[in-house]
């Protein structure tokens, strides 16, 4: 707990690449648009109130027991690369849809995923990462819905992996209830071009730590 990191090298690099990718896209657009005002790419902004000393985290350690989870890592989420890295992919993927209450891939979903996995496995697309973003409709309870949405993304992930896509190129997220019914029961597939043509995301910390500053 004492060695809290604010940024990992991977996130820093991802941010740089994201910025570069955005500049690249801007360059391409420059011919037809006279001036595009640059704006931050991140969807979220984080504002922290005055931060106390990190000792606050350790103020009461009596519940700490068992294995420490500090130091655990997870793959960086390609969605952190931003819109620029998405545009570089050069194609969009239609969402796949589910029946209410279901996490089963129907034949249409399988057909789409088969097409995507073929495309993703082509050597010239080896640097494309895929985020699978699962949603559900408001017929689901809020709590259970997050799990159902995630289970849909994981079902798609398993299908892609079973058909030969390297799991390291896939990142699944459950977003719970979508607001845009009736197409809410879906998994969106978002492609991102990895930095430096890398075929898998860097690792970032997954264990407990101080929240990252913007």
């Amino acid at each position: 707990m004492s060695n809290l990191k604010h940024h990992s090298a991977g996130v820093m690099r991802a941010k740089m690449i994201r910025a570069l990718a955005f500049v690249f896209v801007l360059g391409m657009l420059a011919g037809c648009v006279s001036k595009i005002k640059e704006r931050p790419l991140r969807i979220t902004t984080i504002s922290h109130p005055a931060k106390p000393a990190p000792t606050a985290v350790k103020a009461d350690d009596e519940t700490t027991s068992g294995t420490a989870n500090t130091g655990e890592m997870r793959p960086a989420n390609p969605m952190g690369l931003g819109e620029g890295a998405r545009l570089l992919v050069g194609r969009e993927f239609d969402p796949i849809y589910f029946d209410s209450d279901s996490t089963e891939l129907d034949s249409e979903a399988r057909r789409k995923l088969n097409e995507y996995v073929t495309w993703l496995k082509e050597p010239e697309h080896g640097h494309v990462w895929i985020a699978l973003v699962g949603y559900c409709d408001s017929g689901q309870a809020v709590k259970f819905g997050y799990n159902l949405a995630m289970a849909r993304a994981l079902a798609a992930e398993e299908f892609l992996v079973a058909n030969g896509l390297d799991r390291k190129r896939i990142y699944s997220i459950g977003y719970g209830r979508a607001t845009d019914e009736p197409t809410a029961n879906r998994v969106e597939l978002l492609g991102f071009v990895g930095p430096d043509g890398k075929s898998e995301p860097d690792q970032v910390p997954a264990g407990p730590e101080e929240m990252k500053e913007e």
Partner: protein
């Protein structure tokens, strides 16, 4: 003008009589004191049962006379009256007189005679009468409160509430209301406690912020940044921390926050879901859902994110954990039988048993702090209904349309979200599904309430 004479043979009589006897028993030492702080009752053990003996529960009629200013300086609006009357209403135990005009008439008559005409109050069905005066001195406010039983014409409770800063006049009102409720019913009031919830952004729709409010719906503040997606907040260690899920790093990570200064830390950032936290003060651990091992499973971690333990091993979705108050069991949702149902796991033996069989979509278990009931929501004809069941699986009741029930610390009230008036908002109700009151009015909607522990006095 005909006034119906309400004699004490009404169904409420037995309960009122019992309460009266309890109150009388303690009336001897309940004379107004010069104590600096209000007297608090004998603890949180409720004497009331949310489901009585089966007869229709009757509300106790109480009337709070307008607060009189003894000092030259006066409150610019009757905030004390408003706070106390709302608290009494939200308690689900009390109601104002059916005809407020009669009460005001009695008020004027009492004032003219200089004494309380108890018979007149009994005549209009008022069982308890509260009189109060306040004094403003500098930045402080003091109140003297007396509660009378109209039938016996007895003074049953009184107190002098001193040393309240004028900017905490609402807290003064809550303390007075709590003491009135405690003295008359034996059950702790929950006024002054707080409720966490998720406030949804309006226009773009994607923003979901953790917010907090007083249990009467006042003082709504957001705790997390606008534009960020947050979910499933719960109360944590000693009521000084909260735990919630945030998507700020594009993954649903579990975060902790110190309420005192909003300092945040990450509790768990495993790939996939880190969601639906539930804190047990008894076990001193957080139960939550993670998908790190391939699908939704229940785990526990400590309040600093360490010592992870996996509880469920199942190919189905296991979600929505809720602790028993003694920390020995966890209720959770699983669709292992084909549809979401609630199960209970004994943490010592790891044995799991199915709790719900009625309905084909049950989720969102919440164990009452006294351990007697588990509230949950059940999808019926496409609509969610708040239900209660005993932890042994008996006595299931469908209460009212709504979702995500959360018990008040007195085990009598339930906060929940409901779409009954349009978009989802937070409501409170008595545990039997009556006395439903809307607490929030958030433009984009509000959901996932979590009722905080009792306030330390």
């Amino acid at each position: 003008m005909i006034r119906r004479l309400h004699v004490s043979l009404r169904p409420i009589a037995a309960m009122t009589f019992f309460c009266l006897m309890m109150a009388l028993a303690s009336a001897q030492d309940a004379q107004p004191t010069a104590s600096a702080s209000p007297t608090s009752g004998s603890g949180a053990v409720p004497r009331l049962e949310i489901y009585g003996s089966g007869a229709q529960r009757q509300l106790i009629t109480i009337y709070v006379k307008p607060f009189m200013a003894k000092s030259a300086q006066k409150l610019s609006d009757p905030v004390l009256d408003r706070v106390i009357n709302k608290d009494l209403l939200l308690s689900g135990i009390f109601q104002p007189p059916a005809n407020i005009g009669f009460a005001q008439e009695n008020d004027r008559a009492d004032a003219a005679r200089g004494t309380i005409q108890f018979a007149e109050w009994v005549r209009i069905g008022v069982y308890y009468l509260v009189t109060a005066e306040y004094t403003i001195e500098g930045n402080g406010i003091q109140a003297d409160v007396r509660v009378y039983d109209t039938a016996s014409q007895q003074y049953i409770y009184g107190n002098s509430y001193k040393q309240y800063p004028i900017d905490q006049v609402r807290r003064l009102g809550h303390d007075i209301a709590n003491d009135i409720i405690q003295r008359i019913t034996g059950s702790a009031g929950v006024n002054g406690t707080q409720i966490l919830f998720v406030a949804q952004g309006d226009s773009m729709g994607r923003s979901k912020q953790v917010a907090i409010m007083d249990a009467d719906g006042f003082n709504v503040r957001t705790l997390t940044a606008a534009g960020e997606l947050a979910a499933t907040p719960c109360w944590g260690l000693n009521g000084t921390e909260i735990y919630f899920t945030t998507y700020r790093d594009y993954n649903p990570d579990l975060a902790g926050m110190l309420l005192r200064n909003r300092y945040q830390w990450r509790l768990s950032g495993q790939s996939g879901l880190n969601i639906s936290p539930a804190w047990s003060e008894a076990a001193r651990r957080i139960a939550l859902v993670m998908t790190r091992d391939g699908n939704s499973e229940i785990y526990t971690i400590d309040s600093r994110g360490n010592g992870r333990e996996r509880l469920t091993v199942n190919r189905a979705i296991d979600s929505s954990p809720a602790w028993s108050p003694d920390g020995s069991q966890i209720a959770f949702t699983s669709d292992r039988s084909g549809s979401p149902q609630i199960y209970v796991m004994d943490l010592r033996t790891r044995e799991e048993r199915r709790l719900t069989y009625d309905g084909n979509y049950n989720d969102g278990a919440a164990w009452s702090p006294d351990g007697k009931y588990i509230a949950f929501h059940s999808r019926r004809d496409g609509e969610f209904q708040v239900c209660t069941i005993r932890p042994d699986g008996s006595g299931m009741r469908v209460l009212t349309e709504g979702e995500d029930p959360s018990w008040a610390p007195n085990s009598l009230l339930i906060a929940f979200s409901s779409k009954r008036n349009g978009n989802s908002q937070i409501y409170s109700m008595y545990g039997d599904g009556t006395a439903i009151h809307q607490l929030t009015n958030i433009n984009g909607g509000a959901q996932s309430p979590s009722w905080g522990p009792g306030r330390a006095k």
